[in-house]
Amino acid sequence: MSSTIGNLVDRVYREYLEPNDDIQSFSNLRTAITDTTTTTVAYESDFLTTEEEDAMGSGAFIEINQELMLVLSLNTADETLTVKRGARGTTAETHAQTDLIKINPPFIRLNVFNAVKDQIENLYPTLFAVESQTITSASGYVALTGADDSRIVAPLKAVSQYTSISGDQTSIQFRGVSIELIDVPTTVTSTGKVVQFSGIASGVNVHCTFRKKFGEVTSEQNTLSDTGLETEYEPIIMAGVAAQMISGKDIPAATTEYISDSIQASVYPVGSSTSIRNSLLQYQQILIQQARKDLRARYPEPVSLNSVVYPSA
């Protein structure tokens, strides 16, 4: 399982785009690139044949992490490249020693990262994140002020151990509480989200469960939990990314075969007349439906009237 988005990107490469027997020719950085202006890249020739080394000649693109560099000249004696940094709209970054250098990669890492980002964003509303908060009730609304509370889109349920409106009594049992999520101008609260309770005294703790959008992915260092992704959603994202990446490209037979094998291993038949991309998408839909069933099982659709979620019984 992946802990970060970067891990998820790597997993997409491993499981779909670059089978072990069909990886992109690569080398390693011999010395770290500690700033974004250095134009000399020292590579390790031991990983390369002479031809692969020559493939890094003038006009070639190399990729280190998410940065593409345009090779201006190749010096095989010194095993160095002179490059133009941040080519093709990528951003010049620092790179550590031994970071991979890929030669003219067909699947650009930045593109894969963006595809992962797109896939996560596009999962909502079919799938959603779930967040529970304990909110102290008030006579009026209570503003949601958490950093990412703006992604909350609807309450699923609310419970409290307070059982009497008048007697301030508590019980060892939880009872349902009516809750309403109201979108308000950000002048009211920065998140634009407030909740109101009914049938409960103010000043008591209410445990609220919300439906929430997935968090925005901004870097490979983002964790999955940051975004609200559950680990079982990884295959859904990977299948979508693979379909997105191979769309419109010539893919070697070895890669297509490898992808077919991956899908079939998940007990999804790939017909000979079905394109790999369509198969991936269909496979993704199956995974999504399963995930939705799981969500529904765990979080049944609440009884709601005029945006107020009422206790189910």
């Binding site: 992109q24 020559d54 070697p252």
Partner: protein, 657 residues
């Protein structure tokens, strides 16, 4: 320009997808189902001579066959296939012993069979002055010290003519037959050398006139004249005197009457009638031409054989034969020449060496020559126990070893033929006569055969044919792939292939040898019953092109695309052109080709680098390849291999989306 990888640049080239190397350059193959790598057996190179001129060598669709069924061309041919082959080489061989290869004009088809043995007549000579004469009445005489032996039964039995009655007071130095009479010379170291005559019943000393310190040294009869040589202590002399109605006086054989005079460390060795002139051979290297000028023998020219002693001479059918010994070595030689006139003189010209005998510690000087109806014979001591007659066969102008005389020493000083059998006098040994028993074994060694190509061939079988073998006789064929083995008949390197002890032969025996040359020794054995001989007819050997001679066709990837195993395809600009240019540079060069799969190392020549082919495959990829042909040899015995391995074009490309 991209570089073509070399073995110095790349370790484990096969893992990195290279298919083969040419010397130090590494290349990727472009093998696919319709472009296989092929390694096939090469055909023999085209013949350099027209085999229609050489019908004994037959080309078949199952290899090449070398066949010989006629050996009358004689010995001495070391290589059967060479550029300067003579027409008669198809009937020649390298060596023989104990077999009759000339066959003569016997009333049967040509075949090879054992020769007859010879047997000593047990005279057991006391001295080495043993000279032979044959009379027209068939009687034979041979001298030994002061004794003359006579045979009246064609040499079967010999008896000394009663000692002392012949009048010889000194050792005989020569004998000459004149009709039914014999003339003999003796030599005294002081005075009184004798010329003796025996008319079949009585002896008479004709003259003792020559006063000398060395005496008379020899006598011959030719053109109605007795040619007598003598040594007066200072010079060697040769006289010519008619014996008929000759009144011998004290004035005979005077120095002033000599036809030829030369220094006396040499002597006249043999005198023969050569038609226009009489030829007298001398150990001083001269051959004197003596012409009958109105009844007087007159020197009419002389020919010098440089640095050689002439020890014997014969003339027949317009040709002159003589045997020599080199001045400083005991090397005997047999020459053939012609008698020609030059400036009104008769000289020996067009001399050709027929045979030379160089044997360690053996004096191989030919001492006597005998001309028969169709052959010229001389005797050569070839070992300390064996002396052989050598026969020069006039119809085919060739020579071969003939009868064997088992003797411990001695030169052959006399040869004649009586009643169809040879009589041979071995100096200091005995008189030997050809018997009716065959030699127990004999052989023919054939020349080295290679079908005009230096390439190693696979020799697959030998066949011998012969008449039906009866009793315990046998015909065998031994083989060797060592070129020099033909010089060693008794070498342990001869391997038995065919061994016929019954039937007619004709079955090919598998031999399975890989070599450039094959030579064969056919051995004929009479074994126990020497009254008969196996009859050998022909021998043949068959060769196939050796599998190691291969032609390799390799489709070479000369596209810009690299397809390294476990890596995605990668394009290198102009890589294909660089590879193609390197390949073209190799065209015509000798190279070492190492194929990685299948593992092969082939050393040969880049025969051709085909023009690049652009393959627009149905699957959508555009690839370039060219076919390189390499011809060479390899170590393993593999005839042909075909392989299809992953390469350019076999990786499908699918368009998605």
């Amino acid at each position: 320009m991209p570089r073509v990888p070399t073995t110095a640049d790349v370790t484990n080239p096969q893992r990195k997808g290279y298919g083969f190397r040419l010397d130090n350059l590494l290349f990727r193959t472009a093998i696919s189902n319709d472009r296989p790598l092929t390694i096939s057996t090469a055909e023999f190179p085209s013949q350099q001579i027209d085999l229609r001129q050489n019908p004994e060598d037959i080309t078949t669709n199952i290899g090449q066959i070398f066949s010989r069924g006629d050996f009358s061309g004689g010995q001495g041919l070391d290589y059967a296939h060479k550029r300067n082959n003579a027409e008669k080489d198809v009937t020649r061989f390298f060596d023989s012993k104990g077999v009759d290869v000339f066959h003569g004009d016997e009333d049967s088809s040509y075949n090879v069979h054992l020769l007859y043995q010879t047997a000593a007549k047990n005279i057991t000579f006391s001295g080495t002055n043993n000279y032979l004469a044959q009379l027209t009445n068939g009687k034979l005489y041979v001298t030994d010290v002061t004794t003359v032996y006579e045979s009246s039964d064609n040499g079967d039995s010999w008896s000394p003519i009663a000692a002392g009655t012949n009048g010889a007071t000194h050792n005989f130095t020569g004998i000459a037959a004149v009709g039914n009479e014999i003339y003999l010379t003796t030599a005294n170291v002081t005075t009184g050398s004798q010329l003796i005559k025996y008319d079949g019943s009585s002896w008479s000393t004709l003259t003792t006139a020559q006063v000398s310190s060395a005496g008379l040294t020899g006598i011959w009869f030719a053109k109605g004249q007795l040619f007598i040589s003598g040594d007066n202590g200072t010079v060697e002399l040769l006289w010519g005197i008619t014996p008929f109605q000759q009144t011998w006086t004290s004035s005979d054989l005077q120095d002033a009457d000599a036809i030829v005079t030369f220094e006396d460390s040499h002597h006249i060795s043999q005198v023969v009638d050569a038609g226009a002139v009489v030829l007298a051979a001398s150990t001083n290297g001269d051959i004197y031409s003596i012409k009958d000028v109105t009844g007087t023998m007159t020197l009419f020219g002389q020919t010098n054989i440089p640095f050689e002693e002439v020890h014997c001479i014969a003339a027949t059918e317009g040709q002159v034969f003589f045997g020599t010994k080199e001045f400083s070595r005991n090397v005997g030689r047999f020459y053939r020449a012609e008698l020609v006139t030059a400036d009104n003189l008769y000289v020996i010209a067009n001399r050709q060496l027929v045979k030379e005998w160089t044997i360690n510690n053996i004096d191989t000087t030919p001492k006597f020559m005998f001309a028969s109806r169709d052959s010229v014979y001389t005797g050569i001591a070839e070992s300390s126990t064996e002396t052989f007659l050598w026969r020069y066969y006039l119809p085919t102008a060739s020579i071969a070893r003939d009868l064997k005389i088992t003797t411990t020493a001695g030169f052959v000083e006399g040869i004649t033929n009586t009643n169809g059998k040879f009589i041979v006098v071995v100096s200091g040994s005995d008189v030997y006569k050809e018997t009716n028993l065959y030699e127990d074994t004999g052989y023919i060694i054939l020349p080295n055969i290679d079908f005009f190509t230096s390439e190693v061939k696979q020799w697959v079988g030998t066949t011998i044919e012969h008449d039906e073998i009866v009793d315990t006789r046998r015909v065998q064929c031994f083989i060797s792939t060592r070129e020099g083995n033909i010089d060693s008949p008794d070498s342990g390197n001869w391997e038995l292939s065919n061994d016929s002890t019954q039937g007619f032969g004709g079955e090919e025996v598998q031999i399975n040898r890989n070599a450039r040359y094959l030579n064969m020794k056919v051995v004929i054995q009479a074994t126990d019953d020497l009254s008969g001989t196996p009859v050998f007819r022909s021998v043949s050997a068959r060769a196939l092109p050796r599998p190691q001679l291969v032609v390799v066709d390799i489709p070479v990837n000369i596209s810009d695309q690299i397809e390294r195993p476990n890596r995605k395809k990668l394009k290198v600009k102009n890589l294909g052109e660089a590879v193609y240019q390197e390949l073209k540079q190799k065209e015509g060069d000798s190279v070492t080709l190492q194929l990685f799969d299948p593992q092969e190392v082939i050393r040969g020549v880049v025969e051709s680098v085909a023009y690049p082919v652009i393959n627009d495959a149905n699957i959508g990829s555009v690839t370039q390849y060219c076919t390189v042909r390499i011809r060479g040899v390899r170590a393993e015995d593999v005839i042909s291999q075909f392989t299809n391995t992953a390469g350019i074009g076999t990786l499908g490309v699918v368009r998605l989306g």
